[in-house]
């Protein structure tokens, strides 16, 4: 229906153009309001008023002096510039080949190709037949990477026997941060603007090195079903924005946003940008692309961390111990116990040990004096085993990252605190907590943004904000013989706190670090040392701080998730009371759109016991 409407509108726009004489296409009617033109120039409707503003922050992107705010002036200027005789790299037709192509089609102008040596050489070298959207998933022990990252890969023709995708080129859009900027400045400018966003082209193997090897992120490759004309249009437009500045904003105009615009240009009417409201989470943008039937095929490329974990798990346990001994230097790579194995077994042990040593050197900074000679010995021994291929890598996960639950969550629940009943509404714009359906998310990872819990106490109809979570990050990663990651958590916001006589809303900052151990499939036990800080003038000294501990067990599976444990906090500044709590929380997953949840806690604080329970429903959309 929408497409039909667009065709109809396009026809209305075109009608005056057909009437104009072929030699003077100056009467362009409302062509400057055509969605394809607005997309090509990255115009967005003004929030106030009925005009348009281009998102490019670079005057070289516009041919008209008023182009940034006037689609009509820009269209007129473009039309005039591309009608000028001549050619060469500086000609408007060569600087803006996508605009040129589109306008000539719309206005029925001569399609005689322009002579643009630089552009032609560039697109010939890129040698692109199809385009893949590549999604870098989140990585181990870094929940803040959960949003993921996306870029485009330009795939060469398939029938070519020399096709090799790791040599393919990629297009990405990223903030061009000056290396000397401090982290705080980096975060500030990322959110509020100030960094130029640059479209860059890099070989895929550089991306693999960065994401797979250094950052340990799995890659998902979504091959798009664009045809050759659409691919050519995308490349022509990439050429136009290649060295142009579009300011980078972390939440909306980010890496994923600009790529959506490129897809919109390639296939007019796709209108992916219409999905973006306040933020464009890369994993959500992948969902939109999948929903629009733009994807032909999906390929999984596990990171080096995923591969080494799988290789270790595939070894029989005595070989696992042997691999750990070799990696730590207790047993030589050519020792008798290694040589006693069959070729096949030896190859597996040596390969796994090598991959593990490389992983530890990257992730944990193992010293080169230990790792390099060991790596060399391992490979030398391995090269003496002939005819045993490397083992198959890890299997593709059954649920892709874009197939997990949607990230916006709304919950309605009822409960009782002490002797007061309440109804609670919770809104959470993003993203995932450890009790949500785990499919498609890293286990033990949690990232919540701007969660609001509002309570209505039914005894006196009092409406209270129970908690406003700014950011909450939690990462529980199990330790074992091979890996010893830190489990940690950090969060800030405002919450109700007990002052013995009242429950007051106070800003808080909390953090913690500790360890986690796997107990079985999907189950881990954790022990975290915590610290809490609350600042409020209702507290006796204006603030309070508490060292504490949190011991618990987490179980996650596709049907239900459980979290239970005990927490203790010793408030040492104002109240000088200990707060002990036992808690149990459970979610029962009804598909990926709903979960039933229940919570119970019993607390000992100010020498009295108080229970709180709550039952409700989460909806994800």
């Amino acid at each position: 229906m929408r497409t039909l409407l667009q065709f109809a509108l396009a026809f209305v726009w075109l009608a005056p153009a057909f009437n104009a004489s072929a030699t003077s296409p100056s009467d362009t009617g409302n062509l400057h309001l055509h969605p394809a033109w607005l997309t090509l120039l990255h115009y967005q409707p003004d929030r106030f008023g009925d005009g348009y503003t281009g998102q490019a922050d670079d005057e070289d992107f516009f041919l008209s002096a008023g182009g940034k705010t006037s689609p009509r002036a820009e269209l007129q200027a473009t039309l005039e510039a591309i009608s000028r005789p001549g050619g060469g790299n500086g000609h408007a037709r060569c600087r803006f080949p996508a605009r040129d192509r589109w306008l000539r089609q719309q206005l029925d102008m001569s399609l005689q190709p322009a002579n643009c040596p630089a552009f032609e050489q560039w697109s010939e070298e890129l040698n692109t037949e199809t385009v893949s959207l590549v999604f870098a998933a989140s990585y181990l022990n870094s929940p803040s990477s959960m949003f993921g990252h996306t870029f485009l890969r330009l795939d060469p023709p398939k029938e070519d026997e020399e096709t090799n995708l790791i040599l393919a080129n990629t297009i990405s859009y990223a903030a061009d941060a000056a290396a000397h900027d401090s982290e705080i400045l980096f975060a500030y400018k990322g959110i509020f603007g100030g960094y130029p966003g640059i479209t860059s082209i890099q070989p895929y193997y550089e991306k693999i090195r960065l994401y797979s090897d250094i950052e340990h992120r799995d890659l998902w490759e979504y091959q798009l079903n664009l045809n050759q004309a659409e691919v050519d249009m995308m490349l022509a437009h990439t050429w136009e924005i290649r060295e142009r500045n579009f300011d980078y904003y972390f939440f909306d105009e980010n890496c994923a946003y600009r790529l959506l615009a490129l897809i919109d240009v390639a296939r007019p009417g796709t209108d992916l940008l219409a999905e973006v409201s306040t933020h464009a989470i890369p994993s959500d943008t992948v969902r939109w692309v999948v929903d629009r039937d733009l994807v032909k095929e999906v390929t999984y490329r596990p990171s080096s961390a995923t591969k080494v974990t799988h290789a270790i798990e595939s070894l029989p346990s005595e070989h696992r111990t042997l691999a750990a001994a070799i990696a730590n230097g207790y047993v030589a790579a050519d020792a008798q116990e290694v040589k006693a194995l069959t070729d096949e077994e030896r190859a597996r042990v040596l390969d796994t040990t090598y991959d593990y040593v490389r992983y530890q050197s990257e992730a944990d900074g193992w010293p080169r004096e230990h790792a390099a000679p060991l790596s060399h010995n391992l490979l030398r021994e391995r090269s003496r085993i002939r005819g045993v291929d490397a083992s198959d890598g890890p299997p593709e996960p059954a649920i892709r990252d874009d197939q997990g639950h949607d990230t916006f969550r709304a919950s309605l629940s009822g409960g009782r605190l002490g002797d007061r009943n309440f109804t609670e509404l919770t809104l959470r714009p993003a993203y995932h907590d450890v009790l949500d359906p785990p499919a498609g998310y890293r286990s033990g990872a949690q990232l919540q943004f701007l969660r609001l819990d509002a309570r209505l106490y039914t005894d006196n109809d009092e409406l209270q904000i129970e908690q406003l979570t700014g950011v909450e990050i939690r990462s529980l990663s199990p330790r074992n013989q091979f890996f010893s990651p830190l489990s940690w958590q950090v969060g800030f916001g405002g919450r109700r706190t007990d002052t013995a006589t009242n429950r007051v809303f106070t800003p808080y900052l909390e953090g913690g670090a500790g360890g986690s151990w796997q107990l079985g499939s999907g189950t881990q036990a954790f022990a975290i040392a915590t610290a809490d800080l609350e600042i409020d003038d209702d507290l006796r000294r204006g603030y309070d701080a508490a060292p504490g501990a949190d011991l618990g067990i987490l179980h996650q599976n596709s049907r239900f998730s459980l979290l239970g444990g005990i927490k203790t906090k010793a408030w040492i500044v104002s109240s000088q009371h200990r707060q002990d709590q036992a808690y149990l929380e459970a979610n029962w997953h009804l598909g990926r759109d709903f979960s039933l949840f229940g919570k119970f806690s019993r607390e000992d604080h100010y020498d009295r016991y108080r229970s709180e329970w709550q039952i409700g429903l989460h909806a994800y959309f």
Partner: protein, 154 residues
């Protein structure tokens, strides 16, 4: 086709500090990484830091003139750990990539892989081998092989 790939490869990496590929000692194997962007910020803001880690030092070794060999040298410089790994196993995508860059025909791929695996200790004599030395050793090995010498002819 071969030229095209080499060209694309050179273009893609042209922003990096490759003065003359195939003409220098290149990166030392297992040198490890440096300059990893702080995880939290790199992830949340998806920025690019100046974290390119290949300092290709200008070297004293002779320069390779064959364009395919230059492409291979450049690829080896940033992927030497993985190339060495695949070489020791006698298969893998990084080994295939070397074959593609050198333009080795499908028919010769098996012997190409075998020569490199058999001579692993010659190509990487120590844990301090640089990518430049490894490239020179590979070129010398292929030159002395009747079927494969044509792929590295200057």
């Amino acid at each position: 086709m071969k030229k095209l790939i080499a060209g694309a490869l050179l273009m893609g990496a042209s922003t990096l500090a490759f003065a003359q590929p195939g003409c220098g000692v290149g990166a030392m194997i297992w040198k490890g990484q440096s300059g990893i962007a702080p995880h939290v910020l790199a992830a949340t803001t998806n920025g690019t830091f100046g974290n390119q880690t290949f300092g290709m030092t200008t070297g004293t070794l002779g320069c390779q003139t064959n364009q395919s060999v230059q492409s291979m040298a450049m690829y080896m410089d940033s992927n030497i750990d993985k190339v060495a790994r695949d070489m020791s196993r006698g298969n893998g995508e990084n080994l295939d990539t070397l074959a593609v860059l050198l333009g080795v025909d499908e028919a010769d791929r098996d012997s190409f892989r075998k020569v490199l695996q058999d001579n692993f200790a010659t190509i990487f004599p120590s844990s301090d081998t640089t990518s430049g030395e490894a490239v020179d050793a590979i070129v010398a090995l292929l030159e002395s092989d009747q079927a494969l010498s044509k792929y590295v002819a200057a």
